[in-house]
């Protein structure tokens, strides 16, 4: 892209990028190595590697101290996240198809409203939503996450899908229609296979956001039996006596692991997804 890539210039760049990179990931590496440390090492020392290794922090932390351990929290989180992700994908692709391929009254204004809801602060609807879910008897269940997802409330995802579908040639639809496909089978037979990358992006983003979500979990979920990983982690931070810090750190590692793995395996979709609409942080 740039012509003048002199040697010193790129060396300087590298040096800077490497140092900054270290600073960026150091906390994460520290988190990992410290999960094997004793308390004295976690606090008294600045060394990255433990002076004595504690190997049982993962096993003990995973078990937890009471009736429910991280195994339960993980299963719970999956019970919440998977339906949410699946419904998000289905609903956003259908709605996006509607917006991208059809002309109907008030389309422009509806589209603009959708864009506007992108900026609607969650804080301003959170209280009535809570009251609403309370009336519906949905508190302490995963429905407050799943049902809204089924109704395409994640405008971000819809927008992302619309942008993608618009990029697919209309000729394909037209050809299929001539072949006798109705509009729904145009979607399922022609467009869906082409949408795969976008579907992945939507799924991955929704997975991560829901997985990491803390605010909604703390409001809607109250019994420990239904706790998600976020809540379980917060629980172990509070409930543990100071003896077992490495366990808390170990469970922190475990709780971010799915996201990190997903990130590495699906990096391409991330970058694409973020560049399509570019949201959140």
């Amino acid at each position: 892209m740039r012509e003048s890539n002199s040697k010193t210039d790129s060396l300087l760049r590298y040096a800077f990028l490497i140092i900054l990179g270290l600073v960026m990931v150091y906390p994460l590496i520290w988190l990992f190595t410290s999960s094997f440390k004793t308390n004295a090492d976690i606090f008294g020392s600045s060394k990255l590697l433990p002076s004595t290794y504690v190997w049982d922090s993962y096993v003990l932390g995973w078990q937890g101290t009471g009736q429910y351990g991280f195994q339960d929290f993980f299963i719970n989180t999956l019970k919440l996240v998977i339906p949410t992700v699946v419904f998000t994908i289905i609903s956003s692709v259908i709605v996006a198809y509607g917006f991208a391929r059809f002309n109907f009254p008030f389309k422009t204004i509806l589209f603009s409203i959708m864009i506007a809801t992108l900026m609607l602060p969650n804080a301003s609807i959170m209280i009535p939503r809570y009251i609403l879910f309370n009336k519906m008897n949905w508190l302490d269940t995963y429905l407050p996450f799943i049902i809204p997802a089924a109704f395409a409330t994640g405008a971000f995802f819809v927008y992302m899908m619309i942008q993608f579908i618009r990029g697919l040639p209309v000729d394909l639809d037209e050809a299929a229609t001539i072949d006798g496909c109705n509009s729904f089978s145009v979607l399922t037979r022609v467009l869906l296979p082409l949408c795969k990358p976008a579907l992945f992006s939507v799924g991955i983003f929704q997975f991560m956001w829901t997985w990491n979500d803390f605010f909604n979990s703390i409001i809607y979920i109250s019994s420990v039996k239904k706790f998600t990983v976020s809540l379980g982690l917060r629980l172990s931070l509070d409930a543990s006596s100071a003896v077992s810090w490495n366990q808390v750190l170990a469970m922190s590692v475990v709780s971010v692991l799915p996201c990190i793995l997903l990130f590495f395996f699906a990096q391409k979709y991330f970058v694409e997804g973020i560049s399509t609409t570019g949201l959140k942080g």
């Binding site: 009736q67 864009i115 506007a116 409001i219 109250s222 019994s223 039996k225 509070d238 409930a239």
Partner: protein, 447 residues
């Protein structure tokens, strides 16, 4: 190229705004849901009860053990334990109460009860429950702390006394006496000396709640009366407040307390404070119910003793606080109120339960349970000592206004300002009286 879209977007936002602000009618809120009252349950029907509490690891372990033991007594009842540390528990429990998703049996803190009972009807009247046996409790204790609006909504979990919890092993090493009755001057001098000799050491461990208790104690010792009155007025003069804050200010400057910035990160979990764990702080003014968790983070062989909290030389009232460690209440939304009452009654009165639970919630409030726990060797002598000292020196009992958490928060906020040196004692006293007056008025008006 993007301009049009952004313009349209902005236009829509404004449109929505005007649209919505023009529309001021909403929908009427339906009245509260009907309470489901607990029906009778045949003994073989499987029931699940949720039981929530906060505490340290010993309390968790002992309580879970007691729950296990209850399986022998009522095999059809499964009890789900929901426990955590203190921090965040208050928010959680109140969120649940508001949403009607609270546990069947819950541990509550005294200050919340006044507030909760004034806001709504959340708890089962245990006085009316045929399944709950309240006879073993000291009736005054029960009436003082568990009865609101003529209903016994909660029962004390233990008798808790404010005391000085002392790491005797460390204190001996540092040359600090452990068998003296401290007054504010002597403890100041001792703390100042310790910190001057070794700047990594502090005499006292405290979070903002403990500091609040110290200031309240000081105020009561000066006035010999409540610090806020039953009629929602302030119970002390500006001079009293200035003097108390002056002591606090000077104690913070001299390093008598660990700086609040360090200690407050461990609010509600002082046993996690590294300085206590690393044995750099010998004394913690605290409730006797926290003794075990403070003890268990220290190595075996470290001796923990208790003594009276600080009492001013010319105190008009000792100000020594005796109160329930916490309280247990049963949700009136519980589907199994009878079974919950049965369990709670067992938990509080049964000798086997008492022997399992021991002193994890300080000294049991029911005489027979107390004896059973002592006989089982499950009550730490230091806790017994603290409670006995407390009972023999007990100050006036706080009224319910003083126990209101919003009122306490006002004091805590101002104490923080003094502790951080952001307010002079003079300013703080003015602000305290002004803020208290307005908060008390607000609460009174709400009634």
């Amino acid at each position: 190229m993007k301009r049009r879209k952004i313009g349209a977007l902005f236009f829509v936002t404004v449109l929505i705004l005007t649209l919505f602000s023009a529309c001021s009618t909403g929908n009427k809120e339906a009245t509260g849901k009907n309470n489901t009252t607990g029906g009778t349950v045949s003994s073989d029907e499987k029931i699940t009860l949720r039981f929530s509490w906060w505490g340290g690891e010993d309390r968790h372990a002992a309580t879970i053990a007691a729950i296990e033991a209850y399986k022998q007594i009522a095999p059809n009842v499964t009890i789900e334990a929901e426990y955590q540390g203190f921090d965040g528990y208050e928010q959680k429990i109140k969120t649940q109460l508001a949403g009607g998703t609270s546990a069947d049996i819950m541990q509550l803190d005294l200050p919340w009860l006044q507030e909760l009972t004034s806001k709504g009807d959340f708890f089962l009247d245990l006085g009316n429950s045929s399944e709950f046996d309240a006879a073993g409790f000291d009736q005054d204790f029960l009436n003082n702390f568990g009865v609101y609006n003529d209903q016994l909504v909660a029962v004390p979990t233990g008798v808790n006394s404010y005391c000085m919890i002392i790491n005797k092993t460390l204190a001996d090493k540092l040359g600090i006496q452990t068998d003296v009755e401290w007054d504010w001057d002597s403890i100041y001098e001792a703390g100042k000396k310790l910190h001057e000799e070794d700047s990594s050491k502090y005499l006292l461990l405290a979070d903002h709640a403990a500091l609040r208790q110290d200031i309240v104690t000081m105020l009561k010792q000066r006035t010999g009366a409540q610090w806020v009155n039953e009629d929602y007025t302030v119970g002390f003069s500006k001079e009293d407040a200035v003097a108390s804050f002056e002591w606090l200010h000077k104690a913070m400057e001299a390093g008598v307390y660990q700086p609040i910035g360090e200690s407050d990160l461990f609010f509600g979990k002082i046993d996690q404070n590294p300085k206590w764990i690393n044995q750099e702080i010998p004394m913690a003014p605290s409730m006797s119910s926290t003794l075990l968790s403070l003890k268990n983070v220290l190595p075996d062989g470290v001796e923990i003793v208790t003594s009276l909290p600080v009492i001013a030389k010319d105190a008009k009232d000792t100000g020594v606080l005796i109160r329930p460690s916490q309280l247990f209440a049963i949700s009136n939304k519980s589907k199994h109120q009878e079974e919950a009452s049965k369990f709670l009654s067992w938990f509080m009165n049964d000798k086997e339960a008492a022997a399992i639970l021991g002193d994890v919630r300080s000294v049991p409030p029911v005489k027979s349970s107390q004896e059973a726990a002592v006989a089982a060797g499950k009550i730490d002598a230091a806790i017994t000592n603290a409670v006995e000292l407390g009972l023999s020196h007990a100050g006036i009992v706080d009224n319910s206004v003083a126990n209101n958490s919003e009122v306490q928060k006002v004091l805590e906020d101002i104490i923080q300002k003094v502790s951080y040196g952001k307010s002079t004692p003079e300013e703080a006293a003015d602000e305290l009286i002004a803020s208290l007056t307005s908060k008390l008025k607000e609460i009174k008006d709400r009634k």
